[in-house]
């Protein structure tokens, strides 16, 4: 059996999305900036995609900017807010310690340019409160950027409450909704979101395309200069097949959202319950305020990369926040931020499931993860030290 359980990394492109993309490539291959009929037919398809995206998010079509993905949208949102702030002498930005690197590294860059960045800590549940945001606001705060849901531990932030706080204080609010879009209900007006980023491949659309919603009153700063595409704010001929595929996938995800959410949440809960039986394991993130498809665990005494490689052998495709898999020296900043010590964070496993997973697949995971964890523990000197009482169990 093979089980794809890495949907937070990327999802399988849906048939609907593929069909829309092929149709776009075959029939609407013109350059939407061209004045002739072939170009204008493509322009109409593009305008239609923009309308549909706006309808789903609860905004106007002219507030949608298509990008190369979530990272570009995050960069542009933050840089734009910083540029606006700087003009008014406001150079303070509030975010959290568990953001995606697309946000954190952009903020780091701004910090070097003289901005002050407040990274709010999160609780063990991986959640920040609206009160924390309100208390951190200053006269010179130009932006609050907080992710909708975390990519590693699935925790969902109180976005509407944070949005209200920001609105009341007249501060721009951006949310990186890459993991949330298509999986939870989003309405930018109702939730007082000024800017929002999403990426198609997290909801069965193609990779390499996303969008930025930015309220019409926000003048965006270009990340890519050139032609007048995207109302002059994002140059380059539009990646139309990808855009059309993204919108088809988003519509499909949103129209099935309640049904999928109920089904996937039930599988998730079954998986959490099954894996919780492993001794000295701990669920990462809040038990309830989490994405329908996210299951994240730490297992004491083992390292995540070896766990992934052995699961791969068994046909289970997952992810980890260990240093060895992150390509850096430290384990995941998210796991450290929720208070996991380094040695525990190294033993993390993320299983991210979707509506295509079956109960049989979940049971296959529940059957095999304990075996692999036990096998690795038996050859781990750290585990032996823990079991012999030479070191203390942390979880």
């Amino acid at each position: 059996m093979t089980v794809y359980a890495d949907n937070a990394a990327t999802t399988k492109t849906s048939k609907t999305a593929v069909a829309a993309m092929v149709d776009c490539m075959e029939k609407y291959w013109g350059n939407p900036s061209s004045l002739h009929t072939v170009g204008q037919e493509a322009a109409e398809v593009l305008a239609d995609a923009r309308e549909r995206a706006a309808k789903i998010l609860g905004c106007e079509a002219r507030e949608i900017y298509f990008t190369s993905g979530g990272s570009e949208a995050d960069n542009q949102a933050i840089i734009s807010a910083a540029t606006i702030g700087e003009r008014k002498g406001k150079k303070h930005i509030i975010s959290t310690s568990i953001e995606h690197h697309a946000v954190l590294h952009t903020l780091k860059r701004l910090e070097k340019k003289g901005f002050e960045i407040t990274l709010l800590p999160v609780g063990v549940d991986g959640i920040v409160s609206a009160e924390q945001v309100e208390n951190a606001l200053r006269e010179d705060t130009c932006l609050v950027t907080i992710m909708y849901a975390n990519n590693e531990i699935g925790s969902i932030q109180p976005i509407a409450e944070i949005g209200e706080v920001c609105k009341n204080h007249g501060v721009l609010f951006h949310t990186d909704a890459v993991q949330a879009a298509g999986h939870v209900h989003i309405d930018v007006k109702e939730q007082n979101i000024d800017m929002l980023s999403l990426a198609a491949h997290k909801f069965h659309g193609p990779r390499g395309v996303g969008l930025l919603y930015a309220k019409k009153t926000i003048p965006l700063t270009n990340i890519i200069d050139g032609g007048a595409q995207e109302r002059g704010k994002r140059a380059g001929t539009e990646n139309m097949p990808a855009i059309v595929g993204m919108i088809a996938a988003l519509e499909e995800a949103v129209s099935n959202l309640d049904k999928n959410s109920a089904y996937v949440s039930a599988l998730r809960d079954r998986l959490i319950e099954g894996l919780s039986k492993i001794p000295h394991s701990a669920l990462n993130g809040d038990r309830n305020k989490r994405l329908p498809g996210n299951v994240s665990f730490c297992f004491e005494g083992i390292e995540g990369e070896s766990l992934l490689l052995l699961l791969d052998e068994k046909g289970i495709y997952a992810s980890s926040g260990s240093a060895c898999t992150s390509g850096s020296l430290d384990p995941s900043h998210v796991l450290l931020a929720i208070g996991r010590p380094h040695e525990v964070a190294h033993g993390s496993l993320r299983l991210s499931i979707c509506e295509e997973n079956t109960r049989e697949e979940i049971d296959y995971i529940i059957e095999n993860v304990p075996k692999v964890v036990d096998y690795l523990r038996q050859m781990s000197p750290l585990w032996h030290d823990l079991e012999e009482g030479k070191k203390n169990h942390v979880i």
């Binding site: 390292e303 070896s306 490689l309 052995l310 052998e313 060895c324 020296l329 190294h346 050859m379 000197p381």
Partner: protein, 140 residues
Amino acid sequence: MLYSEKVMDHFKNPRNVGIIEDADGVGEVGNAKCGDIMKIYLKIENDIITDVKFNTFGCGSAIASSSMATELIMGKPLSQALELTNKAVAEALDGLPAHKLHCSVLAEEAIKSAIKDYYDKNGIEYDKELFREVSCEHCH
């Protein structure tokens, strides 16, 4: 693929995993914070390594490096085992990705540490130069 076939073979079918209760020399290097610990157990008779076992907490290449290193020193005189370099371990595995080379360094150091333990326990004189200060280069 990230790893060579040989690394995957030694990772999936590690040689000499285990503990020697009455070991003549035991060496442990690395630390939990960094995400890898290697522990090597040696049985030594007449300066020959007659048995070797390992326990490793770490990634795939750490487990494979431990396995390969134990194979390379099994049945060898201590003088030869002391000459084992991290490069030799990595080469025997048909190479390791650059950011995983420290795993082969740990394997070399774990073996040296176990031999040093044997020398210390038995009051055997040795050239201290042979045993560099155990470093965990990738840690900070």
